[in-house]
Amino acid sequence: MKEIAYAAPRTLSEAVHLLSERGPRARVLAGGTDLIVQLRENTLSRRLGGLDPDTIVDVKNIPELTQLVCDPVSGLTIGAAVCCSRIYEDRAVAQHYPCIVDSASLIGSVQIQNRASFGGNLCNASPAADGIPPLVVLKAMLRVVGRNGSRTLPVTDFCTGPGRTVLIPGEVLVSIHVPPPRPRSGARYLRFIPRNEMDIAVVGVASMLELEADLSTIRDAGICLAAVAPTPILVTEAAQALIGKKATPEVFEAAAEASRKAAKPITDMRGEEWQRRHLCGVLTVRTLEDAFHRARGR
């Protein structure tokens, strides 16, 4: 690893100031589970066009990035640097946002979960990131602060390609806001990995269902696939196959077919193209069944 400078500012404005001053060679440090590995393996400089990061800005001492507020009325706010274990240990989050807990509790190992943040997961923008699909189907909004003030954007607009996001140098992702859970709604995230832990998703699928008062007709739906395209993809065709229909195996299978069609997977060491496409269908059905179950329970 090249020589670096390390700073741990206590306020957001200090952090933004530092980042703006140093430009693209300054990197935000949250849990470091991506960043430190990439610095060591020199993969970041490739991404930055040969530039080696020279300043690390640790954001874990900044209150806005470490807050975790779960309120049934206003929703859930996750500071960008909050680690996974804090999220799944929170009873209110577990109760109201089990789909987020699905993700938080399967990222890496306990050691990783004690460090890794959803902010880092988003900003690292891996196509296989487990944290992003639940946020997509739960329609999360992101708050970003930069030199020119703050902006808010839907999570679907955030990732632009593998390792690429809409953030410009000097900007910090501050927090993730998830709207309050709708009545009779439920969501589920599942991924397929060859081992039972410590693998990167071959395919990940998050499904959200909101039911009518009859508890069987689907009022709203969202399906997001991971690891089958350069960014997580929201499959609108799958949602269309579900909305207005009764939740039956045939309808879920129609959504699965839409998922398989929407997927644009590649073959690499983690999975084969045909396998990934097949798994999109399998996991779509499985997550829908669980989401349905959760929706009826709420």
């Binding site: 741990a8 589970t33 690390i56 050691q111 832990e197």
Partner: protein
């Protein structure tokens, strides 16, 4: 350029100098000569470098040393208290839960964190919690047994 670092290490106020790019594992091993925490992969995948940071188990190979500033770090060297082995250490010996022993410090530290949270874990809980610690020698059988067996006394003893 080296920076000044102060933190609490195994219960004692500790001061050292380190480069910002050095990991906590490098600071422990190379600067403070505490070589009980091991490097198996240097990228978060084997758990051999596990330490407790403010009571939570982390891979010290992917923590910057400077992140420990003002915080509490517990390493394998801090597990035995006052000349008595921690119950986990004792059970690892009794159950022959180590062969080459390179993974052992990491397992002990991670298992301590497990028992701190779940004093009486099930086998499934223990396996899930310890899945970030690789052992290539034992097939985990005796490690899991040792951890489960250490549970009552480890929690009761405190």
């Amino acid at each position: 350029m080296k920076s000044h670092l102060t933190f609490e290490l195994n219960g004692e106020a500790t001061e050292t100098f380190c480069e910002p790019r050095q990991s906590l594992l490098e600071v422990l091993r190379d600067e403070l000569k505490l070589t009980g925490s091991k490097e198996g992969c240097n990228n978060g995948n084997c758990g051999a470098c596990s330490v407790l940071l403010d009571g939570r188990v982390v891979n010290s190979c992917i923590v910057f040393g400077l992140e420990a500033q003002g915080r509490k770090v517990t390493t394998i060297e801090g597990l035995a208290e006052g000349g008595t082995l921690h119950p986990l250490q004792q059970k690892f010996l009794e159950h022959a839960a180590l062969q080459c022993g390179i993974c052992t410090p990491g397992f002990l530290v991670a298992a301590k964190a497990l028992l701190d949270v779940h004093p009486h874990p099930t086998e499934a809980q223990a396996r899930a919690w310890l899945a970030g610690n690789l052992c290539r020698c034992t097939g985990y059988d005796k490690i899991i047994r040792a951890v489960l067996d250490a549970a009552p006394s480890a929690s009761g003893g405190k």
